[in-house]
């Protein structure tokens, strides 16, 4: 067949089992060797149309879409319902069942909840050793299950647990995993199209896993929408045989400490009032704090303010700080570097106050006030107090 390097191939030259191809060259006759097939499957080579052979069709093995139903302290993690919402769409498009797998000590009605939120089937793994997440135990159970039931897609929440578990599984069963997706869809060929941010969200990448199965992805919490709970929904619960023992654990949880509201919780905040270098000095953060308390908001900060020692790192919003999605983000005296934008650009409403009309923050603010913050903020405080 005749091929040439396609525009999306990241390399400008390829050596495929001895066959050399250089970008810019016209279609070239090449032997039908595995390395060439591989490259065609990946889309790195364009095949001359008349001779276009159908790429090896994806094996239709066991068709389910599987969602990992993360539970903590016997509560289903909120992200799971969001996952079910999206997975329901995917399963419907593919015309297959939507299943979830739940690892827990005792069901206690959790599987019913999963069904009410859209699952057709709950695989229930009950064992006292599964009460709290432990890498090796959870990996073993889920890998065993995947090998048995061969789902075509498995998705997890991109939580601290999900991001610990999913890669371990992916490596063990040798398949592709895309992290922290903000979008999922099905392509014309029936592949899972995974959209995710990179470079702190300044670039979006679309990923596919053409040959390996299952296709796996972790999904960012707070992005997908959960479906309405349907109390009348029916589904089946299937017990999964759990073959694990104490010996399988390679790490041991000694203690779990749940921290109370005292901690700065930017990720869950509805309103964030954030201060940056424009404040000039540490004492001026009081303005931010006062405004925040009037709005019942959390206090955020740009990296410049944190680096200058005006406020602790827990308040830092940005790529190396926290990523937030509040309903309202007030950026005060913040210039809006790419690094900072990466942390807050998905806020519902962004209002910026900066005396520099050229400040980059104004490019993403819904409302911008070009004025001295030392005039605006006290006036805001005054008017809010009324």
């Amino acid at each position: 067949m005749k091929v040439k390097i396609s525009p999306i191939c990241p390399e400008s030259s390829l050596n495929l089992g001895g066959v050399i191809l250089i970008r810019g060259e016209d279609f070239k006759e090449v032997p039908d060797i595995p390395e060439v097939r591989n490259a065609v499957d990946k889309g790195y080579l364009e095949v001359l149309k008349e001779e276009k052979k159908k790429t090896k069709s994806v094996k239709k093995e066991g068709s389910e879409v599987l969602v990992f139903a993360e539970q903590r302290n016997n509560k289903i993690a909120r992200v799971v319902f969001e996952l079910l919402g999206k997975a329901r769409e995917l399963a419907d498009k593919l015309n297959v069942k939507l299943a979830t797998i739940l690892l827990t000590e005792k069901d206690n009605g959790l599987s019913n909840q999963l069904i009410q939120y859209g699952a057709d089937r709950v695989y229930l793994a009950e064992n006292s050793l599964l009460k709290n997440y432990q890498t090796e135990l959870y990996t073993k159970v889920i890998v065993e299950h995947i090998k048995k039931t061969k789902p075509q897609i498995v998705i997890y929440g991109a939580t601290n647990i999900g991001r610990d578990l999913a890669p371990r599984i992916a490596q063990r069963i040798t398949t592709g995993l895309t992290a922290d997706c903000t979008g999922l869809d099905i392509t014309e060929e029936g592949l899972l199209l995974q959209t995710r941010p990179a470079f702190g969200g300044n670039i979006m990448a679309q990923i596919v896993c053409p040959k390996h199965r299952p296709q796996m992805a972790t999904i960012r919490p707070g992005v997908m929408k959960a479906k309405e709970k349907d109390k009348k929904r029916n589904g089946e619960t299937i017990r999964v045989e759990v073959k694990i023992s104490e010996k399988d654990k390679k790490t041991e949880i000694i203690k779990i400490i749940r921290e109370t509201k005292k901690k700065v919780n930017l990720e869950e905040a509805k309103i964030i009032v954030s201060g940056g270098r424009g404040l000039g000095k540490k004492e001026n953060f009081k303005l931010i704090e006062e405004l925040a308390s009037l709005l019942n908001a959390e206090v955020g900060a740009s990296r410049a303010a944190v680096d200058a020692g005006w406020i602790s790192k827990e308040h830092q919003v940005g790529q190396t700080g926290k990523t937030v999605r509040p309903k309202l983000y007030l950026a005060i005296g913040i210039s809006g570097s790419i690094q900072h934008k990466a942390g807050m650009q998905n806020s519902d409403l962004i209002i910026a106050i900066n005396k520099d009309p050229e400040a980059p923050i104004f490019q993403i603010a819904d409302y911008g006030i070009v004025d001295d913050l030392f005039k605006i903020v006290p006036e805001m405080i005054k008017q809010l107090k009324q």
Binding site: E11, G43, P167, Q171, F199, M204, T251, T320, I376, M380
Partner: protein, 264 residues
């Protein structure tokens, strides 16, 4: 304690700009840095080494210019540095990268602890650590914000969304560190001198580590990037100008409309 730290050279996303016409990342002339969380992991390793009189080996997979971050690692106190450099590794996704790093780590051998940064600021996946741990069949503890060595195990504070866990792991074990684990430090002048005069960076090819060629590189990676684009910019909103009182009034009314504050 023999500790191997994996570090990555990444573009400084602080400096990254988007080409306004093409909508693509401008990569030329972008300064490169050691991935911040890898630096935290490295500094942690050095602190542990100082306490236990051990050795720190820095390992990186990258193009030839990645030697710079390995020199920086030496300047910060690493005892040895190894660069995995080979065209065969290019374009690897996280699975393939884990295979390469894992194979190299096996060649280095005899390690007690592996420290990684939790995630890199270009890929943002946080997958390479756990995948490498799986490749080596050793336990993993992710999101570490504090590490203590006790007898032949580690006691780690693992960050959770709503608190933290205290986990014990037997050695050897792989830990991924967050930036909360310590403060950034700079290499001292003496450290830089030693890194460039006395210490060496070893370079290993795929053959040197006898890498399984079918498990590394672009074409063997299970995932494939179909398309890259810049997200729709939010679109510039309104710039409000005018006397302070009125501007603020507009904003306050807006907040009331959106029910972000209660309208009395």
């Amino acid at each position: 304690m023999r500790i191997i730290v994996c570090i990555k050279q990444v573009p400084d996303t602080n400096e990254v700009k988007i080409d306004p016409k093409k909508g693509t990342l401008i990569r030329e002339g972008i300064p490169t840095i050691m991935n911040p969380e890898d630096k935290h992991a490295l500094l942690e390793a050095i602190e542990i080494k100082n306490k236990t009189k051990g050795k720190v080996i820095a390992l990186s997979m990258g193009p030839p210019q990645a030697e710079e971050v390995l020199r920086e690692a030496l300047a910060l106190g690493a005892d040895e540095a190894i660069l995995l450099c080979d065209r065969a590794f290019a374009g690897s996704d996280t699975w393939a990268t884990a295979n390469a790093l894992g194979t190299a780590i096996e060649k280095i051998g005899n390690y007690d602890l592996l420290l990684f940064g939790r995630q890199a600021i270009d890929g943002d996946t946080a997958q390479v650590g756990p995948q490498t741990a799986e490749f080596l069949s050793i336990p993993q503890i992710t999101y570490a914000r504090k590490i203590e060595i006790k007898d032949n195990s580690v006691i780690v504070e693992r960050q959770m969304e709503d608190g933290y866990e205290i986990i014990r792991g037997n050695l050897p074990c792989l830990i991924t560190c967050t930036s909360d684990i310590n403060e950034i430090e700079y290499p001292t002048l003496r450290g830089i001198k030693q890194a460039y005069r006395n210490k060496k960076v070893k370079v290993w090819s795929a053959d040197d580590i006898k890498a399984n060629k079918s498990k590394i590189g672009l074409l063997n990676s299970p995932t494939r990037v179909k398309r890259i684009f810049t997200p729709q910019p939010r679109g510039q909103g309104q710039l409000l100008r005018g006397p302070t009182k009125e501007v603020v009034k507009k904003i306050v009314n807006l907040l009331k409309e959106k029910e972000l504050i209660r309208a009395f």
